[in-house]
Amino acid sequence: MENSNKTIEVTDLVKNYGRTSAVNGISFAVRKGEIVGFLGPNGAGKSTTMRILTGFMHATSGIVKICDIPVAAHPVAAKRKIGYMPENNPLPEELRVREYLKWRAKLKEIPFRKRRKRIEKALELCDLKRASHRIIGRLSKGYRQRVGIADAILSQPDIIIMDEPTIGLDPHQIVMIRDLIASLRGRMSMIISSHILPEIEMTCDRVIIINGGRIVAEGTPDSLRKDFIDTTVYQAEIQGDLTSLKENLAKLDDSLEITGNGNADTEGFSEIQIKGAANQNQSENILQHLTNIPNLRVRALNKHKPTLEEVFLAATKRSWDTLLPDTDPDESTFINQS
């Protein structure tokens, strides 16, 4: 069967709140063992999509299948396949960490014989062993976040959905979560939404960028770069005359553009950016050319790798441009603001 390795399949998902639509015809699929990052500005429909996937919310229309089980028709069976950590990670304040996980293990129908082992395993993976007897209400944000993640992975489900798991964590804990996610790679499919874009880039196999309730970009970080970044930027540190440099570089390739403030540091070097055509690496040519120019000293040249942030900004900006024509003016300004 073609579908058998798809753990999540979403077709034409629509969710309306009254007259405003939060999700507007999203379709995607997640393969087994794949880690997918959800990106989007606030109010883009990420959390709504995740909530519909988990069966907590009902969609207005569209089909969501979890391991080939339609969520709307068999919510309980679908919920058994999912470990979910909501936004803001709500936890009961009065319980101890181990008590909470024990209760959750029962609710998640983990058989009695495996329960203890699974709890130990989750505590260990999330580095919570020492905190297992503390009361959740008195834990710091980082610990609480890890309790939420421990709960999500507790039953070792086929699918893990986490809504902003790294929010409020310090860099050490972020590295820990990243290692944790990496250790689960291949065994479980994961959907992670985050605002910390380097995180997504490091952990996710594929990125889905949502804006205004629609998917505006989808693919690996590298393929997104190719699609959305239309220039290649080289950074150089030089000493010499900028105007003559422009003329000289035009001989090499007249599409090259030079920008730079020309403020020299104490040694007389200044930083400039050279913009060239996308999807080709001209570093070598430029370097050779620069060193051949008389009266010009080059200290450094490197090709700037666009961050996912730039891709994100480009993708969401472009999607607003395409959204404008087919929505009525009032609604589109609303989307822009939200």
Partner: protein, 253 residues
Amino acid sequence: MRHFITLLKHELRVLLISPGTYIAAILFLIVMGFVFQDYLTESINASRKHSPGAEFIRSFWLPVFFIVPLLTMKSIAEERRTGTLETLMTTPVTPIEIVLSKFSAAYLYYICLWIMTFSFQVVLYYFAQDPKLIDPAPLIGGYTFIALSGFLFISIGIFSSSLTKNQLVAAILSFAMVFIIIIVGRNLTDWFNQNGNHPLLLRQIVEYLQIFQHAEDFTSGVVETRPVVFYLSGAAVLLTFSIFMIETRNSKN
């Protein structure tokens, strides 16, 4: 119903470890102690038809007005506000199990509070040694009435709590509903009796809302099936509505 016991155990544990439970119980006993003492003094000064124990049960409305809203306002509203309802609803748990466990925990606590008031009767019997003061039949009937009407009152509270995520709104809602069902029912009958010529159906509906009359009957030892059906079916309807509210309200806001 696989998770009902797990959920109920959790609810009871949360009740037992929170200090508020005990404070509420002590305050309840103090207030009810004063009420009981008041009936005792009265029965000394003027001889009455009923034993002080039965009279005491008849003042059920006083604790119901303040205890039921306070006891139930948190149950679903708080979970909805903090978001723990979301983590609960994404496990293989059905809304039926959630509502029933919340209801059962609140009901058990409510009944425990009332059982503790039985100690008043024991103390009275121990010191008075007068069989006239202690009449077992009205007491059995009275506590049966408390247990039965508790189903309706607590489910009113649970239903109000399922409507909103604001505890205060839930409390005021359940207070208003309990008030209407206890006081307005009686006033309407009085009013109907004064001005006749009303549709039979309306009269029949209002005739069911005789909670004071039910209390009177039960404490006199008259146990009828009509009130039993009234309280149980009322509770069932309200709990069903609560289940619907939990299922549908997630999809909004």
